[in-house]
């Protein structure tokens, strides 16, 4: 189980991005973390996976605990070895390497040959499409294929927790559905999933629990049903409003709504 407790992250020693974020990912579940741009979702991922150093960020308060051990100051490689891998925002496949080479880069921490081939087989059954493009340069794959490669690469280390940062970014609706089904498949295989999304509809349709983030902390959490029913989530993330109602943008008054969350 992953527990993020009261996490505070500061960039460049001045910019406070996370202000007391608390999130829990129980074993075997899919947890969605929603939030608008700049809410601190990607920073949360970096804090969990040890990549803050690259961006001059520091955890100033709180902790990240994985199965009872504090991992907030682990190196990225140690976190991968502990069983947490991620699919980075924007896919970030190694475009100059082939599909196979991308996958074996993902398996860097796995030294056992047998485990390696098993993971490879698993990825190939999950993504039959990659099978036919094994020797192709990853940069020439389509966006959807690259996303699948990125997910496959993250699965090569046989993680217990997979963190996906905006897997739906820049993909067509049909591909988003495909990715969603794949996430469900992966979860059915016993891997917990932390799904970071702006696409609330997609995330909440498969999550067991959801958090809504704003300005670096959780402002609302609960079962997907409860979140989907919430008026604010509907308006800000789903673009829904009462049918037939005409409304001027002047009446939207974002700031008042937000104020309720933050108080």
């Amino acid at each position: 189980m992953l527990t993020v407790a009261n996490l505070e992250v500061v960039y460049n020693e001045v910019i406070l991005v996370l202000r007391g974020l608390s999130v829990e990912v129980p074993d075997g579940s899919i947890v969605a973390l929603l939030g608008a741009n700049g809410a601190g979702k990607t920073t949360a991922v970096r804090a969990i996976t040890g990549l803050l150093d690259v961006h001059e960020g520091d955890i100033t308060k709180g902790s990240v605990t994985w199965n009872g051990t504090d991992i907030s100051h682990y190196k990225p490689s140690r976190i991968v070895e502990a069983g947490i891998t991620q699919v980075m925002e924007g896919r970030r496949v190694f475009a100059e390497l082939t599909v196979d080479e991308n996958l074996s880069a993902g398996a860097f921490t796995v030294r056992d040959r047998k485990e390696n081939t098993e993971a490879y087989e698993r990825v190939m059954t999950l993504f039959p499409l990659l099978q036919s493009r094994r020797r192709d340069t990853a940069g020439y794959l389509s966006g959807g294929e690259q996303q699948m490669l990125a997910i496959g690469r993250a699965l090569m280390a046989a993680p217990q927790l997979l963190i996906l940062d905006e897997p739906s970014l820049g993909l067509a609706p049909m591909l988003i559905e495909q990715i969603r089904d794949i996430i469900v498949d992966i979860n059915a295989g016993g891997v917990s999933v932390l799904l970071i999304e702006q696409n609330a509809m997609m995330a909440l349709s498969i999550a067991h629990y959801g958090y809504v983030m704003e300005s670096g902390k959780v402002v609302m959490d609960g079962e997907p049903k409860k979140l989907l029913a919430d008026e604010d989530v509907q308006e800000f993330y789903l673009g829904l409003r009462a049918e037939g109602e005409r409304r001027s943008f002047r009446d939207v008054k974002h700031y008042k709504r937000r104020k309720r969350w933050l108080s």
Binding site: F94, A105, F108
Partner: protein, 358 residues
């Protein structure tokens, strides 16, 4: 998008290397055919010589490329590292002591043929060179990860000076023989001598390139290329960037040392000894690196050979005919080739074009 497509359709850079190479090779072929008919023995000797020089350059260039590709740093200390490696070999093989001690080197008393113990000495010297590379990386380069690349390059320049001072202090004004078993001997084709060192350089360079080819397809090599492409994404896969840096520096230092050993032999030098001149091999090989493209191993090979051919052939055939050029001018030919190459392809023959919006 439309603009990008149009650009690609008429992009002259795609055909430029081909035109460049065709022009160069065409002219060389015509010239070569005339010379071949004139004096086949001399032509063959010149060819082998140029391949020997080109291979030495290619070895040095490969060291540059390995380090640059992994760490994005141009290692200006490559020349001093080359001399250091050769110096270690001289300590082991000629002085017969373990470096910095008066304990006699056990390898020399193993018996067996001379070339065998020399070969073992070379391996030990290369191991020393690798250790030096590791130490340099750990002390001077690792703390600079994430700092501006220019600062790191200047640090390597400082290292070059430091190592040069140390080397020159050990060398003093003498020549320190390396104990190369084939000396300046060779075999004769007609009445022209072809040195064994030419052949040795070629074989070594070929072996080094094959090794790098397979290394880049191994687990660690893939990790190195991943780090080169996207450091953060590689870290997210659990690749330890520090280890990749260390391996790149160790391998770079070993290649430098190999190049340094060949830099004491014909055709680069005639002395078979380390002297204060040895460290300059890296600056002589620099045009090969730049011409081939700083981040491409095949570029290093091709660049090295092109530059080697240009330098030796210019020295052999133009020196006698064009007297006003003077005797030392073959040394500047590599730079001329490099400048022409860069005018046509600013990022080298095989280099990755850097796309930057201004």
């Amino acid at each position: 998008m439309a603009a990008a497509l149009r650009l690609e359709a008429v992009d002259p850079r795609r055909n430029a290397p081909l035109a460049f190479l065709t022009g160069l090779v065409g002219a060389a072929l015509v010239f070569g055919a005339v010379q071949l008919a004139n004096d086949p023995g001399l032509f063959l000797q010149t060819f082998m010589k140029s391949m020997g020089l080109g291979s030495t350059y290619a070895l040095i260039a490969l060291g540059f490329v390995l380090i640059f590709k992994a760490t994005q740093t141009v290692n200006f200390a490559q020349g001093a590292l080359a001399a250091t490696g050769a110096l270690f070999l001289s300590f082991l093989a000629t002085d017969g002591n373990i470096p910095f001690t008066s304990v006699s080197n056990p390898i020399n008393s193993l018996g067996g043929p001379g070339w065998m113990s020399w070969g073992l000495n070379v391996i030990v010297a290369l191991a020393f060179a690798a250790a030096v590379g590791l130490v340099v990386e750990r002390l001077a380069i690792r703390p600079m990860i994430g700092e501006p690349l220019f600062s790191v390059a200047v640090i390597t320049l400082g290292l070059e000076i430091m190592f040069r001072v140390f080397n020159n202090d050990a060398v003093e004004v003498e020549f320190r023989p390396l104990g190369v078993p084939w000396l300046a001997n060779g075999f004769k084709v007609g009445d022209r001598l072809i040195n064994w060192s030419f052949i040795a350089a070629m074989v070594t360079a070929a072996a080094a390139f094959v090794a790098v080819y397979f290394f880049y397809r191994s687990r660690l090599g893939i990790a190195m290329r991943a780090v080169a492409f996207d450091q953060e994404a590689a870290m997210a896969q659990g690749v330890s960037v520090g280890r990749v840096f260390a391996i790149a520096w160790a391998a770079g230092a070993v290649l430098a040392a190999v190049g340094g050993i060949f830099a004491t032999q014909p055709p680069v030098a005639q002395t078979l000894s380390v002297d204060q001149e040895t460290a300059n091999i890296a600056f002589r090989a620099l045009p090969a690196v730049i011409l081939g493209g700083l981040d491409s191993a095949s570029g290093a090979l091709l660049g090295g050979l092109i530059v080697g051919v240009a330098e030796i052939y210019a020295g052999q055939y133009a020196a006698g005919n064009v007297s006003w050029l003077g005797a030392g001018y073959p040394l500047i030919v590599p730079y001329i080739v490099m400048i022409i190459g860069l005018l046509i392809r600013p990022y080298g023959l095989f280099g990755t074009p850097e796309i930057r919006r201004v």
